[in-house]
């Protein structure tokens, strides 16, 4: 079947309307998980069907889309999702964070601060932050309704008593506008501070679990912690080997089988922009136009 046989951005208008209703509710109740009738998509559950449905419901023909996975535009699944929307929506796509109006992401928030004109769509595997403490949906929904989050604090406390610090490094739970505890999706906790007070609209889609939630612009988002054990986003001893950045999230790349390794920015667009601006890391070569 050709792309023309499908509606703009694949989903039919009725389905988009259903998703937009869920999105509006999600925006109205920040951090609350809104059930929605997630559709089977032509990519498997776990590949970002929730994010894809949210993106499809948000896209207009004038939008410019960026898709990242692990912070990179060229990871296979990011390539695949970007191609999907190029084919079904015919929208412009970009790798530059500042050019995009809609950014779909898996596991990262771009390093470059977002603006009011941007929507960040997260792919979410397990939307329920309490799921691994309580497997039953009926129970967790009740806990959210009563704002009964003691169990989560006990879990974090147990971490501290066992390890001396909170041993959660990604999908680190947050409290949204003093009301709902929310799973920020499996972003590293390094990215958690970017969630709060962001000018951009942040939307979260969990396809298999049939949930949508949102952080509207300029919403207070606090990573859970204790007064005597404040939240620590973590830091690096190294700088990016390519662009020399000292304030970005780094991937460790194994360079040989004798323990050799280097650290590079996980946000490939950010790294490239820095190198284009003349920054050079310890192992980097001067930027060449052909790399873009």
């Amino acid at each position: 079947m050709t792309a023309e046989a499908y509606n703009f951005a694949y989903l039919d208008e009725q389905t988009k309307r259903m998703i937009r209703r869920a999105l509006l509710k999600a925006v109205a109740i920040p951090g609350y998980q809104v059930p929605f009738a997630s559709r089977e998509m032509p990519m498997p559950y776990g590949w970002g069907t929730g994010g894809v449905q949210v993106t499809a419901a948000c896209l207009t023909p004038d939008d410019t889309l960026k898709v990242i996975d692990q912070g990179a535009d060229d990871t296979t699944n990011a390539v695949s999702i970007r191609k999907f929307f190029e084919r079904t929506a015919g929208v412009e796509t970009t790798e530059e964070t500042e050019e995009a109006t809609v950014i779909q992401t898996r596991h990262r928030i771009p390093e470059k601060p977002l603006t009011e004109d941007q929507i960040l769509v997260y792919q979410v595997p397990i939307p329920e932050p309490l799921r691994f403490l309580e497997p039953r949906e009926v129970e967790t929904r009740r806990m959210h309704a009563l704002a009964e989050y003691g169990l989560m604090h006990v879990k974090l406390y147990e971490d501290i008593s066992q390890h001396g610090h909170i041993a959660t490094t990604y999908a680190y739970p947050v409290l949204v506008e003093d009301r709902y505890v929310m799973d920020p999706s499996p972003i590293p906790k390094f990215d958690n501070p970017k969630l709060s007070n962001s000018p951009a609209l942040q939307l979260f889609g969990a396809g298999r679990e049939q949930r949508i939630y949102a952080i509207p612009p300029y919403t207070q988002v606090v990573s859970l912690d204790f007064e005597d054990h404040p939240f620590d986003p973590g830091q690096w001893d190294e700088d990016c080997a390519l662009c020399g950045a000292s304030d970005t999230y780094l991937d460790e790349v194994i360079t040989d089988d004798r323990g050799g390794r280097m650290f590079v920015c996980s946000d490939t667009a950010h790294c490239r922009a820095r190198r284009a601006a003349g920054h050079v890391g310890a192992m980097g070569a001067p930027y060449e136009e052909a790399e873009a």
Binding site: Y6, D12, P35, F36, A37, S38, E40, M41, P42, P44, Y45, G46, W47, T49, D69, Q70, G71, A72, D74, T75, T76, N77, A78, V79, S80, K83, R106, H107, R108, P125, P135, R136, E137, V138, H163, G164, A167, T169, Y170, A171, P186, I187, P188, K189, R208, Q210, R211, G234, A241, L242, Y249, L250, D251, E252, V253, M262, V264, S266, M283, G284
Partner: protein, 360 residues
């Protein structure tokens, strides 16, 4: 100098091309025709239609061919196609009492109105490899008899007449639609049955088997198992009456379960129900055993903590398209999360090492 891994796009295209070549296999061997799949692998086609929730043998055959025979992949293709189809309306409930039965057996009575009809079953075959099939010999035609006259009443209706089996509450309420509303707990029976009907055969088989082995035992008898064609009718508002739009093959199973009574219910037989597209006996039986186990609450039975009694456990995990997607997605890159775990383990090892040194 490290060069960032580029070329995801080309890698994907090449992988698809290689996969297509593997699917075709040896080009000396004639290509598989969809008619061959539909006609000669019909139970596979039935399973893909059932779990794909789409009755179309031709599309199911295509899905099977495209999926290189992988059932779950074929089911996924059917589901992804199904979801794009427009909805014109809802059919009338099918009348399985009026089914043209090609198979109908009851394990609870020696003989009964409508008779025991074995039909095309593996049940009494000896499982010896038939090398005649390898030699591509034509099968002799099966003997033909006169069809049985008259209706084939449901077995449970006999028990019902005596008041021995629990009555199902009648309702004209439109059941909730699993494919158009998010699954919501607690689920009612109609919704549970919808989920079970499209659930993975292997998963339901395992659950049903677990009830037989004592994890929420339900003492099931096969009251009746029937397979055959039923008419699908839809009411056309402009005409004001129903017209038949299709005939489909269904497998229906009703189990009769022993029940000693509870605080709220008198001693009587109770029921489990299974209804599946195509000829899918194992699935229909499994479905009815699991359905019965899930009914503990309405019958006032105890929750013994068995998996088959737990509707959230059963319904949240029975869909193989969801399950395989989430399971297989761990193949996708997770290096960002892994990096933070790596840092954490290094940090904890440093701390543990420092503590050990201090102790020595």
């Amino acid at each position: 100098m490290y060069v960032a891994v580029k070329g995801g796009e080309r890698a994907i295209e090449n992988a698809h091309a290689w996969m297509a070549e593997r699917r075709r296999g040896d080009r000396e061997v004639p290509e598989l025709a969809l008619e061959q799949v539909a006609e000669q692998l019909s139970l596979l086609v039935d399973r893909v239609m059932a779990e794909g929730s789409l009755y179309d043998p031709g599309l199911a055959a295509l899905a099977i061919k495209q999926a290189r025979g992988d059932v779950v992949e074929a089911v996924f293709l059917m589901r992804a196609y199904r979801t794009t189809l427009p909805r014109f309306g809802a059919t009338e409930p099918v009348d399985t009492g009026a089914m043209l039965c090609e198979r109908r057996i009851s394990a609870t009575f020696k003989d009964l109105p409508g008779g025991q009809v074995l039909g095309p079953t593996f049940d009494y075959t000896h499982r010896l490899l038939d090398f005649k099939l390898a030699a591509e010999g034509e099968v002799p035609e099966a003997p033909v008899g006169a069809p049985r006259e008259g209706a084939v009443p449901h077995v449970v209706s006999f028990l019902n007449a005596e008041g021995l089996i629990q009555d199902e509450p009648e309702s004209d309420e439109t059941p909730r639609d699993l494919t158009r509303e998010p699954l919501d707990f607690p689920a009612d029976r109609a919704l549970r049955l919808q989920a079970l009907a499209r659930g993975d055969e292997g998963f339901l088989l395992g659950l049903a088997y677990s009830t037989q082995r004592g994890y929420a035992r339900t003492h099931a008898f096969v009251g009746e198992l029937r397979i055959g064609m039923v008419a699908v009718e839809i009411e056309i508002p402009e005409l004001g009456f129903s017209v038949e739009i299709a005939e489909i093959r269904l497998t229906e199973c009703e189990t009769v379960n022993q029940f000693k009574g509870s605080k709220s219910e008198p001693p009587q037989f109770t029921r489990g129900y299974g209804l599946v597209f195509g000829q899918s006996e194992r699935k229909a039986l499994s479905m009815s055993l699991v359905d019965r186990a899930l009914r503990w609450k309405e019958l006032g039975e105890d929750f013994v903590g068995a998996a088959a009694q737990d509707e959230e456990f059963v319904l949240a995990h029975s869909d193989n398209v969801q399950a395989t997607g989430f399971l297989e997605h761990i193949k996708l890159p997770h290096y960002v999360d892994f990096q933070s775990e790596l840092e954490l383990v290094r940090k904890m090892r440093r701390e543990a090492g420092a503590m050990q040194e201090a102790a020595e």
